[in-house]
């Protein structure tokens, strides 16, 4: 199912006179198994576009659809359910719950989705295997390195087999070697399981490895490039 933003504006208004465009005339189509990077400097509007795709914020104008269904008309709770059903998230600072082990963190969205105990176990094992942390499931986040924590975060995002994985600066807190490993992991998951990835980055070293790159400047898509990777 396709995610589609058509001519989307997001305006932040602090007073009658002061209006800031977080996104301006953004149109993106995200198809199954896409691997897409939003690239631009800090404050360019990458996160705003990710938030729009996720339905975390509502566009001021334009359309935001998933599989032909209008997301903007959904209530807050419906959009939360929509994210749970179709999306996985990877955060810059991992956002793992410190009180839960790696396995329990991965279990979190699966419990919300109402999977059976057996299915949850299977999915946890599968996702831990995909990120290469089969033996570290019982560890708490503070017992893991930054790269390992990000892998757990990815495992949590993919465990529910979502249609779309959104990642906001997933490598920003990692050293270049670990960042490379994370990108390779994304590519592997994209290739092997046809998982769709949209992530934001301003790390120039990673951009060459991404198939579709959208350059964001002042809330607008200034350029798009398709690489042969």
């Amino acid at each position: 199912m396709q995610f589609e933003l058509s001519n989307v504006d997001k305006v932040y208004t602090s007073s009658e006179e002061i209006k800031v465009f977080g996104a301006k005339g953004v149109s993106i189509k995200i198809a199954e198994a896409d691997f897409l990077a939003l690239v631009g400097p800090s404050g360019s509007g990458k996160t705003t576009i990710l938030n729009l795709i996720a339905g975390l914020i509502i566009p001021t104008s334009g359309q935001l659809k998933h599989g032909g269904k209008e997301i903007t008309s959904m209530s807050l709770e419906e959009r939360t359910q929509h994210r749970l059903d179709y999306m996985g998230f990877v955060f810059q600072d991992y956002q793992l719950l410190p009180i839960l082990t790696a396995e329990e963190n991965i279990e979190f969205p699966l419990q919300l989705k109402g999977f059976s105990k057996k299915e949850i176990k299977e999915r946890i094992n599968w996702s831990l295997k995909q990120v290469g942390l089969e033996n570290l499931g019982k560890r708490f986040p503070n017992q893991l390195s930054g790269g390992q924590q990000q892998r757990v975060s990815i495992a949590r995002a993919i465990a529910g087999r979502p249609q779309l994985i959104l990642a906001d600066e997933p490598t920003a807190n990692l050293d270049s070697k670990t960042a490379q490993e994370i990108i390779e992991l994304f590519l592997k998951l994209n290739k092997e399981f046809k998982l769709t990835f949209v992530f934001s980055t301003h790390d120039q070293r990673l951009i060459d490895q991404v198939r579709t790159v959208l350059y964001v400047q002042d809330g607008q898509i200034s350029e798009s490039r398709v690489h042969n990777v």
Binding site: Q81, R83, E107, P109
Partner: protein, 402 residues
């Protein structure tokens, strides 16, 4: 069910996020709970002990009388023509537990004055076995069971009549048959009730002497007074009337209720103060996790789920605290059951007088079962109120945090 257990596990683990803070909250709640339970038990046991002491001296736990002896609207008024015999008492066990009395309103004349008093005839041996009236004798002796026409007076009454041990006083009253009753009684003892009104208005003689004075045949009485202090339930009688001590002494019953209610009011205030402190701590605890709530919402946790997790967290903390608190309350009550509190430390060694009767200063605490669920329930209620504001604030803030 699986999802709910996960929710509970999630909430439980959150208790260990900042262990010291959780420990302080649990301690403040449990100590508050323990203290309130102890305090209520203290007030209740204190009242009970004081009442037991007070009632065992004279008034008794309940009285059995003729159905029409007392005015049902005002039990201070009685009709002394209404008597009964033990034949009317079906439950013979009640005869063992009670002592018979005969009451005669009389004019008592000493060398200088004549005063109106209530002359009560007592079955001396039984009275000594059941009541502690004989302990109030400070001058002279208690009535001789084989004696006749002996009288003991309140100390104040003897002073007003200007009479002393060995003197004779004349009693004039009305006999049951309507004739004028009069007789001379010899003073054998003086009662000290601590200087109250009872000392001025009571006089006691042998039952037989009082019956003769009132022209009452033997085995006919006005009252049977029960001193079965451990039984609060009243016997159910069809032919005779039963009056409890709090019906006969309503002002004292009201005082006891007041003490109980006042203790509850103080408890409410304590819990409210603790709740305000808790509310502030909860607010800090929740606000610290605001960013996390936003992340949870992004990955699919709805507001209800987050709210439920916080509520369960607070209730889990409350449950741990209240289990600990009730245990503390029970332990403290048990300790003061084996080590009674000496009230004289609060009065500087002075005697404690209630309703004109000096009471024993030692309070032995007894655990009242109802307090062990009423107090935790009250704290749960306040705990619920405590978390409403922090919850509303944090949920509304995390919704707008993106």
């Amino acid at each position: 069910m699986n999802g709910f257990l996960y929710l509970v596990k999630f909430s439980y683990r959150n208790l260990f996020r900042v262990p010291k803070r959780t420990l302080i909250m649990i301690l403040s709640l449990s100590l508050g709970c323990g203290f309130i339970i102890w305090d209520l038990n203290f007030a209740n046991s204190g009242s009970r002990e004081i009442m037991k002491d007070f009632l065992s001296q004279y008034a008794g736990q309940y009285q059995i009388t003729h159905l029409d002896y007392y005015n049902p609207k005002n039990k201070k008024e009685f009709n002394f023509y209404k008597t009964f015999s033990d034949d009317e008492l079906v439950d013979k066990e009640l005869i063992k537990l009670s002592t018979p009395r005969v009451n005669a309103p009389v004019f008592l004349s000493g060398s200088r004055k004549t005063l109106g008093v209530l002359l009560t005839g007592l079955m001396v041996e039984k009275e000594k076995r059941l009541s502690t009236l004989y302990k109030a004798i400070t001058v002279g002796k208690f009535l001789d069971p084989n004696g006749n026409k002996e009288i003991i007076l309140g100390k104040k009454l003897s002073q007003r009549l200007n009479v002393n041990i060995g003197d004779e006083v004349a009693a004039i009253g009305q006999a049951i048959d309507g004739s004028i009753a009069n007789d001379l009684f010899k003073i054998v003892g003086l009662l000290d009730f601590g200087g109250g009104d009872l000392e001025e208005s009571l006089a006691f003689t042998q039952l037989k002497s009082a019956q003769e004075f009132l022209s009452l045949p033997p085995m006919i009485y006005h009252q049977r007074v029960s001193f079965d202090m451990d039984s609060e339930a009243l016997p159910i009688l069809t032919k005779l009337g039963v009056s409890s001590w709090d019906e006969l002494l309503p002002e004292i019953g009201i005082s006891i209720k007041f003490i109980d209610r006042f203790t509850w009011i103080v408890s409410f205030i304590i819990v409210m103060v603790v709740s305000l402190g808790l509310s502030n701590t909860l607010m800090i605890t929740f606000f610290e996790r605001e960013h996390e709530f936003t992340s949870l919402n992004i990955i699919g946790a709805k507001t209800n789920w987050i709210t439920a997790s916080l509520m369960i967290e607070v209730f889990l903390m409350g449950t741990i605290a209240l289990i600990l608190g009730t245990s503390i309350g029970y332990a403290a009550t048990s300790f003061f059951n084996s080590h009674p509190i000496n009230l004289e430390i609060f009065t500087g060694g002075k005697p404690i007088i209630m309703g004109g009767i000096t009471i024993a200063p030692h309070i032995r605490l007894y655990a009242v079962p109802k307090y062990f669920w009423q107090v935790p329930l009250m704290i749960y209620f306040f705990l619920t109120l405590t978390m409403i504001y922090p919850l509303i604030r944090v949920i509304s803030r995390s919704k707008n945090a993106i």
